[in-house]
Structures are given as structure tokens and as C-alpha cells.
Symmetry: D2
Subunit: 336 residues, 4 copies
């Protein structure tokens, strides 16, 4: 960590800063320039609060040299993390296709979709039982019942299930889930992160709508520091001024995270764009940029007027899409 001091810093404040830093166990290299004095802090600086130091009267700016995350850091863990989930693996060169409905609505619905997406090539079943809804008046999900329906679908198809946990109090219900999803709005729900870090299911953390890469990795670090190393990262779009799409899918997250961390990276084109017709081109882009997998909403429900709904594709559209993506994945791997 580098601390750039203001010109002519107050001598007493400087001495007490240096004393305080030494107390924290870091060694200090002082470098006096023409205009500014610079302190180079050597040692374990991960426990120093950068905001706190930056705000000191005598400090102009602080610059971290080492990343504040360790467990998630590729520097200390060069090989890719590959996560085994029942018969399938996430990471390590495979293309994971998580597909299924946004909300679990009924046993028939989820079983039918599970069968369809399995046939199409999906490797996992996604589906929401507990739903984070902006409005308290909107349907909040089937809850525990929804989880049961997902398990039925798993039994029928063999597809492992990934579903969102919203609160610590629901955790006992998730014992038999395959991958626990933490939603974008809970990315910095630190108590929840610790809780899923203390259990042994893999955890997929969606990026918060305005989270930086570093903040996102620090959320993974929370889970890992609590003992659970099986963390998956899922990019689902960030909030920008552009409102044509619901969010802006940050495809660069794939190669950037590939460098910073060893954890697998999944892309959710359905939520990111909010438009079903953008799912295919954005899925292609994600595969080409090296994503480890995709999470795609697929909906059926022929009796329902909204069957061709939201960001969902119908199973008959998902099937050829999945085939194209698998083919593209091979073509991309053949380039290297």
C-alpha cells in the first residue's frame, strides 16, 4: 500500500500515523519527493482500512498495491477451480448450461421444462422458489413448496438444481439443493455470505447491480474465508444510463475475472438484457469470451397467455440455441 502525503504534513500527525501503522505490523519505506512525501507500506496490509487512511488530514491519496482478497486470488491459487455438482462439472473447460423458469409455478411446469432443457443439452436446472421482487404486492414465489417441485424435477431428469437463497432463516430448507444462488441484491448481505460459507453446498454469487470487480470478489472472499471454497461468480449486468436494455451486460468481466481469480464464471444474459431476443447474441458473445457457462431462462406454460413472456425463451427456441452454443464453444476452444 502506498500513502501519498499532502505537502508539508503536520509533523505530529505524521508521527502518530507512522506509529499507528507500525503497531499494525507493517514496515514503512519513506520516499521524499520534491513536492510530496510517499510512504510505502510493506507487509500484510489486508487488514488496513484504505478509506480510513485516505481520509486523514495529512493524506492526499492512498493506493493499494496488493489485492485485498486472498482465497479468491489467482496469484495464490493459479489453477482453475472446478466444481463437481453431481454428475456435472462447472469450470475447467466445460460449458455449463443452467436453464429453467424464472419462478417455479407448479410441479407440472417445472418438470416439463426440466425434461425439455435436459433434452436440449442443459446440464443444470435453474428455478426460483424464493423470489426477490421489487414490489411487496408481486408474487413472492412458492417458497418451500417450490423447492420440493424442483427436487421432483431433479429426480425425473437427473439435472442438479440451482436456486436462490434470500435469507439465513431459509437455510435449513436448502440442505438438499445442489447449488445455492445468492442474488444480486444480496451480494453484500454479509451475514448471509458468512452463513453460506459455513455450509458445504457450492455457492453462486451474482454480481450486484453496481458492484465493482473487487467488491464482488470480496463477497466471494467472505464465503471462502468462512470455509467454503466452492464459489461461482455470475455476471448479470450492471446499471448504467442506457435504459433500452434492463442492464448493461459486462462481457469484459469474463477475461478480467479469469485473470484476477480462479473461480468459474457464469453469464446470465436473460436478466441482464430483459429481452428474450437478446439472449442468443449475448450468449454467443459470452461463450466466445470464455465464459464457463450460461444461466438462461426457459419458460413453457402453454395454457398461459404470457407463455412467450419476459426474458424467457420457449423450450423449442432453447433447444437449437443450446446446440449452437455447444458448437460455438467447441469452435472457440479449437482456436487456442
Amino acid at each position: 500500500m502506498i500513502v501519498i502525503l499532502k505537502q508539508n504534513p503536520n509533523r505530529d500527525q505524521l508521527e502518530s500515523l507512522i506509529a499507528w501503522l507500525q503497531e499494525k505490523g507493517v514496515t514503512i519505506h519513506t520516499s521524499i519527493g520534491e513536492a510530496n512525501t510517499i510512504l510505502g507500506l510493506v507487509g500484510d496490509t489486508s487488514k488496513l482500512d484504505i478509506d480510513l487512511i485516505a481520509a486523514l488530514d495529512i493524506v492526499e491519496d492512498v493506493k493499494r498495491v496488493q489485492e485485498p482478497y486472498k482465497n479468491a486470488n489467482r496469484k495464490f491459487h493459479p489453477e482453475d477451480t472446478v466444481i463437481q455438482v453431481r454428475d456435472t462439472r462447472i469450470g475447467g473447460g466445460t460449458l455449463t448450461l443452467m436453464a429453467g423458469p424464472c419462478s417455479v409455478e407448479s410441479e407440472d411446469q417445472v418438470v416439463a421444462i426440466a425434461k425439455a432443457v435436459k433434452a436440449a443439452g442443459a446440464t443444470m436446472l435453474r428455478g426460483g422458489a424464493f423470489k426477490p421482487r421489487t414490489s411487496p404486492y408481486a408474487f413472492q414465489g412458492l417458497g418451500a413448496t417450490g423447492l420440493e417441485y424442483l427436487k421432483v424435477a431433479r429426480q425425473e431428469t437427473g439435472l442438479p438444481i440451482v436456486t436462490e437463497l434470500m435469507d439465513i432463516t431459509q437455510l435449513p430448507l436448502f440442505k438438499d439443493v445442489d447449488v445455492i444462488q445468492i442474488g444480486a441484491r444480496n451480494m453484500q448481505n454479509f451475514d448471509l455470505l458468512k452463513a453460506v460459507g459455513h455450509q458445504d453446498k457450492p455457492v453462486m454469487i451474482k454480481r450486484g447491480m453496481s458492484a465493482t470487480y473487487e467488491e464482488w470478489l470480496m463477497s466471494a472472499e467472505y464465503v471462502m474465508a468462512s470455509g467454503n471454497e466452492n464459489v461461482i461468480l455470475c455476471e448479470r449486468g450492471i446499471r448504467t444510463f442506457e435504459s433500452y436494455t434492463r442492464n448493461t451486460l459486462d462481457i469484459a468481466a469474463i477475461p478480467v475475472l479469469r485473470t484476477l481469480t480462479h473461480l468459474p464464471i457464469i453469464i446470465d444474459p436473460s436478466h441482464a438484457t430483459g429481452k428474450y431476443w437478446l439472449v442468443e447474441p449475448m450468449s454467443r458473445a459470452a461463450v466466445a469470451a470464455g465464459a464457463d457457462g450460461l444461466q438462461i431462462e426457459v419458460h413453457n406454460d402453454p395454457a398461459h397467455a404470457l407463455c412467450d413472456g419476459p426474458q424467457s425463451l420457449k423450450p423449442e427456441i432453447f433447444a437449437p440455441l443450446a446446440q449452437k452454443l455447444l458448437k460455438l464453444h467447441e469452435a472457440v476452444r479449437a482456436l487456442d
Copy 2:
């Protein structure tokens, strides 16, 4: 709600959309233009999922005419909400000054600061016992012990206390707190919002870092719909591309929310800017724009090298600031 259809919509899909909407209890006015057909939906549209409709094949765009929040909506509750907290009131023309340390560190510290800010004119004591920290390696707060210290400080000064609740499981500890704060990162932790809606302490909701006014009001709606009408809104800066300040304090939130809702509006200039020397000018701006109060970090700790720390002011700087703000508040009220 207005639904703008694409040109030449599929007739079957249109009929099933209309049938589905009627099933939901809304009346439909169809208006056929040269290029586009428009459906005007009349009735209670608050339960309709705008994203779902927007994503239909035959729909070009959807526009909400009525706000999706009711309890928080000034249209249905024209008078300002004023919240009594022990001997002080929030809203209704008063200027609430919540002051205190970011983190509770010791009984001595919080009592000393409480006395100092009380003498300076503060009306409430703020202080964090459970701290949302980006890093799992950073100090996570004193927890239950910190709450006890806050209560001692209240006993010594009579100042009501406002402190952050991070998880439902901590709620029993908050029985004797005066105002429960929901942090920016938990603004859309919907289970937590419901939980504080089912108890009777006033709740102050900080705006999420990338939350729109409507999303923020929907979070208030979650609390209110669960039975608790004593909600306070706290603006603490939004995330933009400008990185000189930690966040961009959105002062326009004050007059905009004043129009949209009847709930009191507090401004937190300390977290928004991340620089203690910006607290005074931004506090002045907030008072001039009509804020109901301010939440300001004040830190003492003379034995500590970092006493002039982060976004915190020392008590001896807070004292004249509080006096100026109260004077400015009077001058601003005299204009009307």
C-alpha cells in the same frame, strides 16, 4: 398503465394478452393509431408485472401511469409524516441532527461523543454496533456489546439512538433501540424489510448505491405494507463514474421525494462524500434544499492516532457546524 403494441401484432397473442389482463381485473381501452395500437389499462395495476408485459413478443413498450407504491405515496397521504422518537420529532419542520461515531468502539468513546454532540445541538445519537464491511478481514463491529454501550450513552444524555440492523437473526437485540437503520446494501433485502415491518420501531432506510427513487420507495412500501408506517428515508450518495468523492450525493432527492412521498428525508453527507471537509458544504446544501435532517459522523478518541479520521469530524468541529446548520435552517424557513 399503457401498453404500446408492435406494428401488426399477432392476433392470437393479442387476444390472450387481453384475456389475461381482464382476468387480473383491469379494464382495457384500445386506441388504434396510424402505426401502433395502444392499450390503456384502467383499474388497480399495482399487481401487474411491468417487466413481464414489456417482454411479450407483441409489446413494444409499457409505461406505468400510476406509481406502484401506495402507502408511501403522497397522493394518498397528503400530510407530512412526523415521527416521534422519545422527546424529539423527525419531520414536520424540525431539523434532526443525528451524530455519532461510525463504529462504537468502547463505552467511554461513545459516551464522550454522545455528550459532546448533545451539547452541540444534536438530537439523536448514531453509532454502528453491527458493521457491514466490504472485507471479511475488517473489524465487524462490537455487536450486542456495542448496542449496550449505545444504551449507556442514551441514559447519560437522553439522546435516542439509531443503529443498523444487518440480519433478521439480530432483531431480538434491537428491542430497545429507538430507530432501526437499514443500510444501503440491504435496501432490497426484502425479508429483512418485511421483518422490520412487523415490529414497531421506526425504520430508516438508506438508499441503495444504484437504486432509483421508485425502487427506494418500494422498499419503504415493503415495510409499510407489513404494518409499520414509521419509515424514514436517508440519501447517502449514488454510484457514478466520478471517483473523486466516494459517491455522488443526490441533493435533488430531497425535493423530488418531498413531492412523491410524505415520509421524512435525511441526508448523510459523511458516507456520500467520504471526505470530512465536504461534510459542511453538503450539509448546508441539504438544509437549503429542505432536508428534514442530517446524519453526520463525529469521532473523538484523543488517544488514537487516527482521531481526525475518515469522513468523521471531531466534536470541536461539529459544535460550530451544528450551530451554523440550525441558523441556516431558520434562515431557509424564513424565506417561505
Copy 3:
């Protein structure tokens, strides 16, 4: 266009609004709902100022139904625009590779790079003679001399040249350039857009750093409305809160623009990311999402310590990249 009125609008103001609208030649359909009255405006609304109407006392909101651009609109021009530039074509299924140095530094430099990128598969030569630099103290480009060096490189290789025009007064120097580039910072320099609309070279407009799709298309519309239909759009990243990359490359712009407009779409991964090692994965993503081409910085200059510089690739890295991208382009086309 739909105008949503406030509840109980002032009758006189409403009448004068209606009269004013009729004067502008639009027909008005009034639809009275329970809470709000809605005016549907039918006819040519492209000349109505939406902001002006939105700001009226009696107006709650205004919603445009038809896009404000015509020449650039795919609805009125369903086939893709394909632009012939000497022996190469932009759009229509080809993959245009524009490569070359950020700045033209010398004749030797630009000729050497031109030869190298031509051999590698590039179809156009890019290079800056007039450079928009944030600092007045930075190198501002070689100007007219730089244009001459580009022409020499074209003569040596046959590659058409694309280079940036910064000001109307430079236009006479651009007579012999093949494609005129308008930089992101000039995207809404309307006089410049009109000027390049009045000449006959193709114009490539880079997206402004915080421009919406609609604003960008309106800039294309400025050029087209002035008589020049050969417009190319170039996405080069938008500004977000994420600062790890210089900007956030918005890959969704490709399929979205493909729907909204018939103009070709080029991606600039070099400027968008600001990191040379992100050029390859982002180029792959762009090709997979259907871009018509890429603009990539390539730099040589072996005598120069900074040869492996900024967002530039060395020619020996560009060569295999170009081959991979062409192969990927074929694989992607084979999917459809």
C-alpha cells in the same frame, strides 16, 4: 407520442396545449381514465420537442411511440447498408478489420505497420493524424503531415484509410481519405456532423462516452439528413462506475442496433478496455455477437521502449489474432 396529463389539469392550459399541437399538424386522440387523461398524438411527431412537452405544468409524462430517426431507421430501410470502400466492403456479412497505430508517428512507422496488418488479414488501415488529447500539453498528432504518411501507406499496401476529423476547418485536408472518423467526444458536435453530411466520404461515428443508442442514431441521422447515407457506427465503450477497464464495452449494442438500424456496426475493443490483453477476448465476443468489423490498435516501433504499449498489440500478436477472428467469424456464420 403519448402525453399523460396530471390529475385535474388546468382547463385553459389543456386547451392551449391541444391548440398548439394541432397547429403542429398532429391529430389528438383523448382517452380519459379513472385517474389520468391521456392524449395520443397521431401523425408526424418527429419535430415535437419531447422535453418541452414533458415540462409543461399539466403534463405528468410523455412517451414517444415512434423513433425520432428516419433515415437511420430499419423500419423504413429494411435491408442492411453495405458500404463500398475501394476494394473492400463494410457490412453485408463481411468482417472488416481496421488495424493500425493510435497515432501516426512517422512514415516508416505507419508503412511498416500497414504492411504487417495487411499481411495479417486487415482490410483497412487506421491511424490518427489529428489526435483528441485530454491534455493541452500532450502530443496533438502530426496533423496534415500525418495524413500524407497514411496516404503513402495506402499506396504501398492498397489498404483504404480511416482517420479522425476533429474540426470543420480541417475538412479540406480529408478530401483523399477513405473513411472519415468522428470521435466519441465529437459525437454531438452537430455542426461537424452536418459538414460531413454535406460531403461524400463514408463517415464512421464513434459512440459518445455516455450516449444512449437513440442519441447515437440521431447523430447518424444528422449526417444522413444532410445527404450522406454512408454512415458506420462504432461502439468504443461507455462510462460506468467500474474503473478496472477504461470503459465498459457494451456488446449488446451490436444486436440492439442490428434491430434498430440498417447501418454497419464496428467494435473498438482497444479504446474500450484500455488494456491490450483484453483486445482478443472482447474481439471474439464482438464477432460472436455479429459485429460487422473491428477497429484494433496495432503498434510496432521496435526502437522504442514503449513498443508493447497501451491498448496496442504488436504486429506479431495481431497476425494470429486476425486469423482466429476470421476463423471464428466463419464458425459463427455457419451457425445460422
Copy 4:
């Protein structure tokens, strides 16, 4: 400037970087830490391209210690710049009120408004003759004729005029204007900035919609480096995800710029918010935060249905607002 090297940098690349830096005239202090080596560059680093260095293979990050602007920097020019414009002064404790119509529409209109705002307390007349319009089909302003009407209004009232210059070719027409405004969209039109730097009228630069403070100050630096020291900065809102207001007015710009620069700071609440009813509260906030002045749209035009238009106030609303702002300005100054 501090250059943080990657771990184990390539020795040859490091030597050529050091040689190149020394060639540029900077002295290098090397500091070797446990993990990273850091180069401290001492001397005039304003000509070094930070992006270029940051992108080198061996470089992890670069951190500027000194600001890249000199003429605009308060460090080298501690006293406030005060600009005399005819009988009025901008900066130095006065509150400048620039008022007038968005567009000049007729001589009668602008003269009538000028008289009204002068009577209300305005010190300058604003009005657009050349209008930057998003759409080529919208009214583009009266041009040279509009400038003549502004001069008539000045003659009638004595109010100096401020009006926008859009292109170098229009400059000869601006000889008799009092303050030349550079619009947000032209903030980085560097040729235009140089051109207004070579003439002697004061120049007011509006902040670009997504410009950082540093970029904005660099635009001022362009004008000042060309010889014109009379530069005024005008904040008019930045683009964020919040779409309720047209832009987000960044009030913190006032105290931040007050620290970074000696140039006067004006706030434009009309364009920032896009809603006339937000002009008053945001003007109050600006005055309280220490702005040197405000630019407010005022519109009359009683024969016109849209007289209560856009972000404009009517003269009869501006009059009491101006009085309140002047009173508030006094009250704020009395606090210090």
C-alpha cells in the same frame, strides 16, 4: 507520478522504460518491496501519458501524484479568480444571476425577458442563438439574427450577455458578446477550446455529461494554456441511472472545485433537472454550498401555449426566487 511494477518484471523492458523516462527529463526513485517494485517519478510529469505507461506489460498500475493542470490549479494560484464583465463581477463573493430564455425566439421576446429579469435582480442575460439540438429536425436557433436580438436586449437593459458558441466558424460573430459559453457536448471539442483560448472574451465551460472533475479542469486548461485566463466553470448535471430528473446535479462539484481551482463556479439547475419546479430547491442548495452564481432559464411569451414550458420559469416566478436567493446568499455568507 508513481509506477507500480508487476511482480518479477522483465529486466530489459524495465531498463528501456527507465531510459525512456529519463529521456523525458524525470528523475526516478526505485523502491523495492516484498512483492512489488515501485518507481517514484520526480520532476515535470505533466507531459507523460499516464494511459500509455499504465498499459505497459511490466506495469501493474500508475498513480498520478500531481494534478495534470497548472493554470487552473489553485496550488499555483491561491487567490480566487474574479472576472469583470462590464459592470458586473463573477466570483469573489458575489452571486451572479444569469437569466433568460433557452432559445432566442424574437426581439420582443428577449427584450421583454431581459427587462423582467433585470428588474428581478439578474446580473446577466443568457439566451441561445445557436442551439445544440439532439435532432436535426428540431429548431436549430436563430443564429446570427439571435445574437443581434441579444445585443438589442443588452442595450435596453445594460445586462451583459452570455451565449453559446458551437463551432469555430461562428467565432467572428461572437466579437461583441460578453461571455462565450461552451456547451456540455463541446467540452472536449479541443479545437474549439483552443480557438476561444486565443481570443479575449471570458469563456464559460459547461461540464460534459460524463466528465470527471479532472477532465473538466483540463478543458479549462486548454483555454488557459492558449492565453485566456478568464474561464468560468458551469455544472449542469451528470448522467446517471436515475431517470426521474434529466441528469443528476452534482452539488459537491462546488466545494470540490473550490479546493482544486481558483476559477468561478456557476450552477445550471434548469438543464440539470429538466423540471422547472426543481429549479428553486436546487438553486438554494447551490447557493448554500457556495456557488458563485446560477444560470436559470426564464421564459415569457404570453401568446404562446407553451409559455409555462420546459425547465423555464415565468418572469413572475423568477422575481421572488431571485430575491430569496440573494437573501439566502447573504445568510450563508453571514455564517462564515
